[in-house]
């Protein structure tokens, strides 16, 4: 019994060490990465790169600006190339241009800048949302008295005060959805369940078969429309925008955009990581994504046509000598996944650890030899396997809980 309990203790110790030791190591050795940012200039129609550099004499970090040919730009030149990003400063300096490509830079044009993070992985959803009035008599969005869900019985509106289902409204909307070809239950409901938006564009809902539908309430009446996609939907990010309803990711992390006139356009960009940051103004749309050690910016025109692409190598912890040591030292790490997908133990398999595992085993074996212990005892053979598999974690755990007769 004591041997079984000792084995459990070793398992718990390995788990604990694999959770805390790599993060402790990383926090101790990690240095702040130097920033590298890419922008697309609406003035020069070319990329501008802002790169943080360390001054070798003062050891202070400073931002340096370059164009794509590697020419150094002054800060003023950099700001003039990006009038939307530096609107306030340029106005104060009196350097804001009156027009760009023949378009007057009015306050409305300058303020019409949209930024959004697009993530392919679906975050947690409750499957409950309020259906707003999309054609209100007064401007703005007001909160309804009920929330809806779409289960096996179709759409159901639940009164927030009483908690009871509203049969008449539910039946009316369920009928409209069935007429559009919707098959309950909903696989996912995407939308903006907030009153802090300029207007409401309803919800985008995937049905049991993964087909996409647009559901709205206009003057109290249901509006449901099927949207043909031709691919399997992974995630949708909705916007409050005059031109587009939403961005859609398919299961291969390809990105599409659904315009307000129901055109589904594939975007000429690649986002293998499934994460990108979108910025748009009246002149260009940009999508910034990053791979392991590269930041990539795609520039598209307002109608989503490809304009240009630029990639820059970025300073990343994984490329450092400390990270290489980490891969050598720890055979695996247990971690909490960042963001909204919360699993506790996700093994983080890294390579290059075999040598350290072998060294740990040799140290352990040398101590055993010195103490004249037999390797043939089952518990010692078990310890050897644990150390060979889990390296430094196993060695610490085995020494913390030694075998006793």
């Amino acid at each position: 019994m004591a041997k079984i309990v000792r084995f459990l203790l070793i398992l718990i110790t390995i788990f604990t060490l694999s959770f805390y030791l790599p993060s402790l190591y990383q926090r101790t050795v990690e240095k702040r990465p130097l920033k590298t940012m890419i922008y697309f200039s609406e003035v020069s129609h070319d990329f501008v790169i802002a790169r943080e550099s360390i001054d070798s004499t003062t050891q202070e970090a400073a931002m340096l600006y370059y164009d794509t040919r590697g020419n150094l730009l002054t800060e003023t030149e950099y700001m003039q190339l990006l009038p939307f990003n530096n609107r306030r400063k340029l106005k104060l300096m009196g350097l804001m241009p009156d027009s760009l490509d023949g378009v007057a830079l009015t306050t409305d044009v300058l303020k019409n800048v949209k930024r959004s993070m697009l993530v392919a992985d679906r975050s947690f959803s409750y499957g409950l949302a309020p259906l707003f009035e999309s054609a209100p008599e007064r401007v703005g969005v007001s909160l309804p008295d009920d929330i809806f869900r779409i289960g096996k019985r179709g759409i159901e509106f639940i009164d927030c005060t009483t908690g009871e289902i509203l049969p008449e409204k539910s039946a009316r909307f369920a009928q409209a959805m069935q007429a559009a070809g919707f098959e309950a239950p909903a696989r996912d409901i995407y939308g903006i369940p907030s009153v802090i938006k300029r207007w409401d564009s309803g919800y985008f809902i995937t049905d049991r078969n993964g087909r996409l539908f647009h559901l709205m309430m206009a003057k109290g009446a249901p509006y449901c429309r099927h949207i043909e996609t031709g691919f399997e939907i992974k995630n949708i990010k909705c916007h409050t925008d005059e031109e587009i309803f939403c961005h859609i990711f398919d299961t291969d992390n390809r990105l599409y955009v659904l315009t307000t006139d129901y055109r589904l356009l594939p975007l000429p960009i690649e986002i293998p990581s499934g994460r990108c940051f979108m910025t748009s103004n009246d002149f260009f749309r940009t999508y910034k994504t990053s791979e392991k050690d590269t930041s990539i910016l795609f520039a598209l025109d307002p109608s989503f046509g490809f304009v240009a692409r630029h990639a820059e190598k970025i300073d990343h912890y994984d490329d450092t000598r400390e990270a290489a040591w980490e891969r050598h030292l720890f055979p695996f790490a247990t971690m909490k996944t960042p963001g909204y997908a919360h699993f506790i133990p996700l093994p983080n398999p890294v390579r290059d650890f075999c040598i350290v595992n072998l060294m740990c085993f040799l140290v352990w074996a040398a101590v055993k030899l010195y103490k004249r212990r037999s390797f043939k005892r089952p518990e010692n053979m078990g310890d050897a396997i644990v150390i060979l598999l889990t390296g430094i974690y196993g060695l610490i755990a085995v020494w913390l809980f030694p075998n006793r007769k």
Partner: protein, 227 residues
């Protein structure tokens, strides 16, 4: 009557005050939570509170007070059960009772675990009942899944209190206590949305289960007279 029931009775005498005390606190906290929720519904309106609770960034974790209640119960039960005997060296007398030492230590631990299960069942059932009266299943199910991790923490804490208390070596006691506290942070997670960490439940439950026999190791070392 079997000796195990005598053992349970001995443990009951030691822990009943702690059990009832924490149970009253636990039930009180559940009522306090829902008085607060109903008050907010009155002030904000049901539709406003529902949106606020679901989609505020971060959403309102109205049950946050429950996080430390199972922990409190485990600490009170564990300490009241083991501290007096260990501090006054009476545990050696217990080990001389006409029952096998392993059965004795396992019986003590089993009693504590059953008492904690009873506490968790009462408090969790009361909370889930009140929650289901106010909110639809789309809310209550994720909330219950999030709460489970906090309630599992009670088993981990209790097992480590027993494991540490019976250990004869001071340095090892310190090490066990530190390990228990460090791993406890995995159970007492911060909740960014209702239903968070529900996928981690099997691992947390497995760890709590694995920690159950640890007390036997300390009991074995104590019995052998290890230093």
């Amino acid at each position: 009557m079997k000796p195990i029931w005598h053992l349970f009775y001995k443990e009951w005498i030691k822990t009943r005050a702690a059990f009832f005390g924490t149970l009253i606190v636990g039930i009180g906290v559940v009522f306090y939570i829902f008085i607060g929720v109903e008050n907010r519904i009155t002030l904000m309106g049901a539709k406003g509170y529902t949106l606020y609770m679901l989609y505020n960034n971060p959403p309102v974790i109205y049950y946050g007070l429950l996080r430390y209640i199972p922990l409190l119960a485990a600490v009170c039960i564990g300490v009241s059960q083991y501290a007096p005997e260990v501090a006054q060296r009476r545990i050696r007398l217990t080990l001389h009772l006409p029952v096998g030492n392993r059965t004795l230590v396992a019986g003590m631990a089993l009693y504590g675990l059953l008492l904690i299960t009873l506490f968790n069942a009462i408090v969790l059932a009361l909370f889930c009942y009140k929650n289901s009266v106010l909110f639809p299943a789309e809310v209550t199910v994720p909330v219950r899944e999030t709460l489970l991790g906090w309630f599992l923490a009670a088993y981990w804490v209790y097992n480590f209190i027993a494991f540490t208390a019976l250990e004869p070596n001071r340095m090892r006691q310190l090490f066990y206590a530190l390990t228990g506290i460090v791993v406890l942070s995995l159970y007492l997670y911060h909740v960014p949305f209702h239903g968070a960490y529900s996928t981690s439940m099997p691992v947390l439950a497995l760890m709590a289960l694995l920690s159950c026999p640890l007390v036997l190791f300390s009991g074995y070392r104590l019995n052998k007279g290890e230093r």
